[in-house]
Amino acid sequence: MSGHGVPRVSAADDTRDAQKEQKKIEEYRTIVDLVNAKIAEREYTLEVLSLTEKVLKKNPEYYTVWNYRRLILQFHIETALTNNHDASISQDQPSDGRSPAQDTIHNLLTWDLSFIIPLLMQFPKCYWIWKYRLWLLSRATDLLPASWPKSLWNKELELVSKMLARDERNFHGWGYRRTIIASLEKIAQEGGDGESNMVEQEFEYTTRMIKSNLSNFSAWHNRSKLIPRLLDERGANNEDRRDMLDSEFSLIQEAMTDPDNQSVFFYHQFLMSTLSPTNPRHAAIALDLTNTDRVAIYEREIENIKELLEDFDDCKLIYQILLQYTKEYLDFEAGNKTVTTAEMREWLAQLRKLDFLRNGRWNDVERDLGL
């Protein structure tokens, strides 16, 4: 979306040179009109392809021009396939199994994939560029022998890792990464080589991301999505699953030293949410927890978080989480040995003091907990 974070220039300070502005507009409109005219005449040549480049460098949001590129490439792909068909009637296929058409298509697609990298780096949040890239890759996947798209998708994985190292919260990037992984897995499943299941590798990736920066919120999120699948893929038994839950709790316990780090508490809340008996399998870790197990975990974790109050008694997030967990804990009809009503009232009072923006919410919490 345009217009995020552009500093305001007051009318008086607006020193834009009207003549210069006019010249820029004329240049832009001339090239846009030219491209539009050429496409209207179905002039799908490589010259027109490079004209579209000129427009997109000025304005990568011009989605129709991305579609023009698709039309032109599509035309060249079809031409290559037709010529190849004619050629294959008269002569033999090359011995390496790759037809001249496939070579042409591969060249067109890889050339275009590299053309857009600088644009992507410059406009990492431009939806249309990501979308166009995926289209190129899907053409490669549909039209070329599996080893080629496989190496293209692997290059994408490197590219997106680079992008995520630059901006770890770019959700286009994370979504793109999930698509790359799914595509590589699909190629492998359909008989190409490679890993038909990359969930271990992706899990390791989130571990690395988290170790380099504990407040990488998106990496924690991705980890929360990967664990249930990882366990299924490993064929984990009940004991393995309980071990996983324990090791994740200890990982997060070590990280919970700084309540300013919301990501860590987010992940803790995820782990607690997996305890719910009503969770579907894709949102669960341990599958054979009894109510006694749940109560024990809740008591342990509530105690741990209470201890944080000794050092951080002005942190609203801690009070908020304590009240949330207590409510869930009481729902297990735990007999409540861990939290007193006086404590809950104290936490609520602290919340009202530290976080009066959400007073309406704390009123509802008070009512729901019967305080």
Binding site: G3, Y63, T64, W174, R358
Partner: protein, 327 residues
């Protein structure tokens, strides 16, 4: 200076609160003037660079003047002529004449037609009228997953799913899509924090929460939502200065006043944030000289933040604005 209350962060903010003017007013006249000026800026390069936003820009501007109680500030005839200059034979609309069809612009076109009650014109000026447009939208639903693509080139997003249901409900053509599948898809996008992402596996994002809730509301399936959990996540979006962000640990931005605010309203939790502080933040983001509202105080205004700032104010019943429907 008293210590400001920390809400998101546990350390006190390092900057003192900015001095405010004694009274912050909604600058009704300036905003109307700003919206009216949008189509007269052909001498600005930016005008040409934003052509791909023209039709939704028009919808945002039109909604803005309606909220400001001056629905006639944009000439009806010209608006309608422009809308129909963007239609293609297949019933889809592009962003401007000559631009390709896409769900986003088709939805804006239908919204403008509904706002101006121009359904008769739709029948007169488009071959097959409402039904052609409805068919175009419905054709973008993916049969196996239930979600929607933006155009013939694929790529799905919950934004398109919501847009499709919204437009089809305005056209009274919801029966053209597989609603159960669409609802199933939304459920697959839900995260443990109660929020929703752009697709299954994606991180919760306030814009996507809005699209999924509004879609569920159109489908009559808000019963599927964990209101307390999601309400908690949404209300945590309010930052100490009153503004709302779109995801944890991100900056506040006026447009989330709408995405977060209307989501809270749909699940009856709007009272979980501080409306007065939100109003103050939006009013501070006005440009007092030239009208319009920006993403946050001091930035350049645009019509997108103008309409969503106004809609946010309307939602919390700020005086001087018409009431808005959260969906």
């Amino acid at each position: 200076m008293s210590k400001p209350t920390p809400a998101e962060s546990c350390s006190p903010p390092s900057q003192p609160a900015q001095a405010l003017p004694d009274e912050l007013h909604l600058l009704v006249e300036q905003h109307v003037q700003y919206v009216r000026s949008l189509d007269t800026r052909k001498d600005e390069y930016e005008y040409w660079l934003t052509e791909h936003l023209r039709l939704n820009g028009l919808y945002w501007g039109l909604t803005a003047v309606h909220l400001l109680g001056q629905p006639d500030a944009l000439p009806r005839r010209e608006v309608i002529d422009f809308v129909f200059s963007c239609v293609h034979e297949n019933g889809g609309f592009g962003a401007a004449p000559g631009h390709d069809t896409h769900m986003l612009y088709t939805v804006s076109a239908v919204q403008i037609i509904a706002t101006l009650d121009a359904f008769d014109e739709l029948e007169e000026r488009v071959d097959g009228g409402r039904k052609t447009v409805g068919k175009f939208i419905a054709s973008l639903q993916e049969r196996d997953t239930g979600t929607f693509a933006g155009d013939e080139w694929g790529e799905t997003d919950t934004r398109f799913l919501y847009g499709a249901l919204n437009a089809l409900s305005l056209l009274h053509l919801l029966h053209l899509v597989d609603m159960d599948k669409a609802v199933e898809h939304i459920q697959a996008c839900e995260n443990f924090d109660g929020g929703y992402g752009t697709g299954p596996g994606a991180e919760s994002h306030a814009g996507q929460v809005f699209t999924c809730l509004a879609a569920l509301s159109i489908a009559g399936r808000l019963d599927l939502v964990d209101r307390d959990r999601l309400g908690g996540w949404l209300s945590d979006r309010q930052l100490p200065n009153g503004g709302l962000n779109g995801r944890p640990e991100k900056k506040e931005d006026v447009c989330y006043s709408w995405w977060v605010g209307s989501s809270l309203a749909m699940i009856d939790r709007l009272h979980w944030i501080d409306s007065n502080k939100l109003a103050k933040f939006i009013l501070q983001s006005q440009d007092p000289d030239r009208g319009g509202i920006t993403d946050r105080p001091g930035d350049m205004v645009d019509v997108y933040h103008t309409v969503f700032g106004l809609a946010g104010l309307s939602l919390i019943k700020h005086p001087g604005l018409m009431e808005v429907d959260p969906v």
